[in-house]
Subunit: 379 residues, 2 copies
């Protein structure tokens, strides 16, 4: 096991009817003026917006609204948020939404102290400070609610890149699984597959790290079980709650801190959704990950056999990959580039886009050529 | 799943040659004068003491030594520590040792701000503040290095009781698994069984909390695997590291925060070691837990069947309990009161001692009578 530091200071408030404490939580931390960041109108339909606004007002917190965060959030909108924070002397950010909203909140929080936000994504500027971020999670999947990472798309340059810094851990996160009952099914699925994919980014590289591997298997099996239950009954509260808690644990350092992440499948997927921003991240991962597994299988065969046996109850990796794709497909997720309506001739462009940050992966480092081969497999 | 808050702010620094950073870690936090708390001479034999002292001196940290913490640490020694802190204007505590040293450090930290430390254990005083505690863990097991709990023995009244408060989370903890290679085998075993027991305190009550239960099974199986490996080769670093990481996760809120703990077996064991302070906590738990499981089996049969199948690969609970005792015994752990040299006629006194804090347990609340029946089973 490699040396590591595990230090996750986010306060997670989890359960039914917890959203109403947000005002008190922010107030206790000493902040009086905040940016309220959210996406489209879903939080106005499901009552979350009203609960949040009432709680903020009850606690005398002044807020400036910045709505319109899109899935695969974009640089221009984050820059507008930074301007709003500066112009209004705001002290903190409250993100209400899924991973996209939280990622943009972190980007704004970091950008507040930078000359040029995108420089941090280009690794040209270091993130040393950030506005405090609070979150109310409405879609489980990205894990952004309890980690220090953010992904943003530079829509001018078609780059979907990431940042990470200790100061970007949310101060507090609220997850009320009940509000996720109203999600469209495909969003629940995309979130679950995103969470599975986060765990898998650490799984294959960690042959001797028994804690990480065995906990990973437990979390993946739990997510599969919960999605199966929710497909039958979207209002199954224990399934919603366990899916949400597992998705948070999937990328909060628990399975990742003691091992090295691959992040190659994610990089390839970012190549897809940078060019096709209408494709949800989880949907892209559903397509890319089985192909990545198949392509890299020789790099650590015993671990891949373990994956087949312990996650899919299969006797071979081929059987496991068939089971994985069959399961994803049964949930209505795409399992090929064709399912995503991406023509084969676009593969080169996607691989080129995905490789612009350089070689990725430790188990099997991938250049543009290998990425293209994986995309061929995914076609 | 019940509502919960998960907020564990301890910074965990894990791996080989990490002890030497302690001075810098304390210094970065702004503390200049500390209490250096430890037990007997083992840290002087294995070089940990020298590494710590050098690191403190290199960082200009003044320290006052308080050695002689005993297994099952006692109130009088903690009170001496409080006096040392007050007399020398100390700002923080560094605990170097196993759970006993860390628990006493937390007790001193809380007692510094109380009129009478034991009042907190009696639930007569609230712990609102504490000196910051840093820890260097030398024996994995209690989990105290990353949680807000402490157990102390009032040797005058023969009470082994506990406290817990958010301010008692260690600020930072260092775990170098390599230094545990020099532990006597029975200490490694006691620590492992203590960690398994912590997980089990949450396991049987959590029927529908899939995340907690499945992660619990992964951790228990990992601890068993690591102990088996260490019995063959005490210098197996990955096994030491995975055992240590699993033991920390066993009681840091990961499996416990989303469910209700029983803590009945622990309470009974505290009744034993309050009267027999020479009996290690892990050894007492090895005796009590199988009996508690057997006694409470009707309270949640499906969960007990799951335990048999997923942890012990057994078809029935009887088979699983036999496997559990056989495994514990193969490690050299005691599995009966007889193995602990406790005469049968002491059972009443132990049960009486254990029940002085009142009824314990949620799945099956236990009074003195039921505790005595469990101890009979354990005889």
């Amino acid at each position: 096991m490699q040396n590591f530091v595990f230090h996750n200071p986010t306060k997670l408030i989890f359960g039914e009817n917890t959203i109403e404490v947000i005002g008190k939580e922010i107030s206790k931390s000493g902040y009086k003026r905040i940016l309220l960041l959210y996406g489209g109108g879903s939080i106005k339909k499901n009552g979350v917006y009203d609960t949040v606004v009432k709680s903020l007002k009850d606690n005398n917190i002044v807020f400036v609204e910045h709505s319109g965060v899109v899935p695969n959030p974009v640089l221009s909108h984050a820059n507008e948020g930074i301007e709003l924070c500066k112009r209004n002397n705001l002290e903190a950010i409250l993100a209400v939404g899924g991973g996209s909203v939280i990622d943009e909140a972190k980007s704004i929080a970091a950008g507040f102290y930078l000359n040029n936000l995108w420089d941090a994504f280009e690794r040209k500027a270091e993130i040393k400070d950030a506005l405090p971020v609070f979150t109310i999670l409405t879609i489980s999947g990205t894990g952004s609610e309890m980690n220090p990472f953010a992904v943003l798309t530079n829509e001018y340059e078609k780059k979907k890149w990431n940042i990470g810094a200790a100061c970007l851990y949310p101060k507090a996160t609220i997850i009320d699984p009940r509000i996720q009952m109203s999600l469209p099914w495909h969003q629940t699925v995309n979130g679950g597959i995103d969470a599975i994919s986060h765990i898998l980014e650490y799984y294959f590289n960690s042959t001797v790290q028994e804690v990480s591997v065995s906990v990973s298997e437990a979390l993946i099996r739990t997510i599969i079980l919960c999605l199966d239950k929710l497909q039958v009954n979207p209002n199954d509260y224990p399934a919603r709650a366990n899916l949400a808690w597992a998705a948070t644990l999937a990328l909060n350092g628990l399975v990742g801190s003691s091992t090295i992440g691959e992040w190659a499948a994610h990089r390839i997927e970012h190549g897809i959704s940078a060019l096709y921003p209408e494709i949800a991240h989880g949907a892209g991962l559903a397509v890319v990950f089985p192909a990545w597994i198949s392509y890299t299988r020789q790099a650590n065969p015993s671990q891949y056999e373990r994956f087949a046996k312990n996650v899919w109850n299969s006797n071979s990796l081929d059987e496991a990959l068939a089971a994985m794709k069959s399961k994803y497909s049964s949930w209505g997720a795409p399992i090929s580039l064709r399912d995503l309506n991406i023509p084969k001739e676009k593969i080169g462009e996607i691989a080129h886009n995905a490789s612009r940050l350089g070689v990725v992966g430790n188990l099997l480092p991938l250049t543009e050529r290998e990425m293209a081969e994986i995309l061929e497999l995914a076609y």
